[in-house]
Symmetry: C2
Subunit: 146 residues, 2 copies
C-alpha cells in the first residue's frame, strides 16, 4: 500500500552534475562506459556504479534520453526530442538522423492485432563517412570493433 507516496527528496551531488555535464560535453551519444571514462580522467574516485545510477536517474527524471541500440550497449542522448539514429556498422558510432519524426508510422500498420501501440524506434545501419573513406586499412584481427 503506497497510498501516501512521499517522493524522495533528490540531492544535488557533484557526481550527478559530473554525469550530466559529461553527456552534454561529449554530445556524441556516449555509452555509459564512455561517460565513466570521461569523468574518470578528472575525477578518478567516481565509481562506475554511480555513473550508471545517475544516468538512470537523469533519464527517468527526463533530463536525458536513452537510446537502446539493438545488439549493443545503450547510448545516452543529450537531445530530448524524439528522433532517430544511425549506427556505423564498422566503428559502432551513433549519429543523429536528419529525418522528421514519423508521427504517422503506426498508422501504416494494417492490423494491429489488438495491440495498443505506444511508441516506435527506428535505427538505420550503414557506413559512416570516416569508415567509408578508408580503404580498409584494417588487419583481419582488428576488424569490426564489435
Amino acid at each position: 500500500m503506497k497510498s501516501t507516496t512521499h517522493k524522495p527528496v533528490t540531492r544535488n551531488t557533484i557526481q550527478r552534475d559530473l554525469v550530466l555535464e559529461a553527456v552534454m560535453t561529449l554530445r556524441n551519444h556516449p555509452t555509459p562506459e564512455e561517460v565513466y571514462e570521461h569523468i574518470h580522467k578528472e575525477h578518478p574516485t567516481v565509481s562506475k556504479g554511480t555513473v550508471y545510477r545517475n544516468l538512470n536517474f537523469l533519464v527517468e527524471s527526463g533530463q536525458l534520453s536513452k537510446i537502446p541500440i539493438p545488439g549493443a550497449a545503450h547510448r545516452v542522448d543529450h537531445t530530448l526530442a524524439p528522433h532517430y539514429h544511425i549506427v556505423c556498422k564498422q566503428c559502432g558510432r551513433v549519429y543523429d538522423v536528419d529525418m522528421p519524426y514519423q508521427a504517422k508510422l503506426a498508422g501504416k500498420i494494417r492490423d494491429t492485432g489488438g495491440f495498443e501501440i505506444q511508441e516506435h524506434e527506428i535505427v538505420f545501419w550503414g557506413i559512416c563517412p570516416h569508415c567509408g573513406k578508408r580503404q580498409w586499412p584494417q588487419t583481419e584481427t582488428a576488424a569490426r570493433q564489435k
Copy 2:
C-alpha cells in the same frame, strides 16, 4: 592473407537440426534461452553453448534471421523476409507487425551526412492484447517483467 580461403565443410549434426527445428516449431521469435529450453526437454544433453553456436551459424548461413531487440535479449526469427516487430512493454513478447516494408524510408532522410545507408530496423512498443485486457492483476513487486 586469405588468398585461398577454403570454406570449411559444414557437418549436419542432430544438434543443428534440433536448433533449426525448435525455431521453426516455436515460431514465436524465441530467445536463445527459449530455444535451449525447448530442446532441453527432449534432449537434456544438448548444451547451451551449442544452441548459441548453432543459432549464430544458422543466422550467418541465411537460414534464420536475428531480431536485435533494443535493451533485451536477441530473438530469432524463422521468417527471412524483412519485416518489423512490436514488443509488449509488459510481458516482453515479440510479435510481427503487419506493415509493408518501408523501402523508401531512408529516402526521407534530409541529409545523410555522407553516410552510406544500408538497412533499417523499426521496433514498435506497446501493450499486447493479453496484457491490455488484464486489470493489472499485478502486485507491485511482480510489475513489469525485468
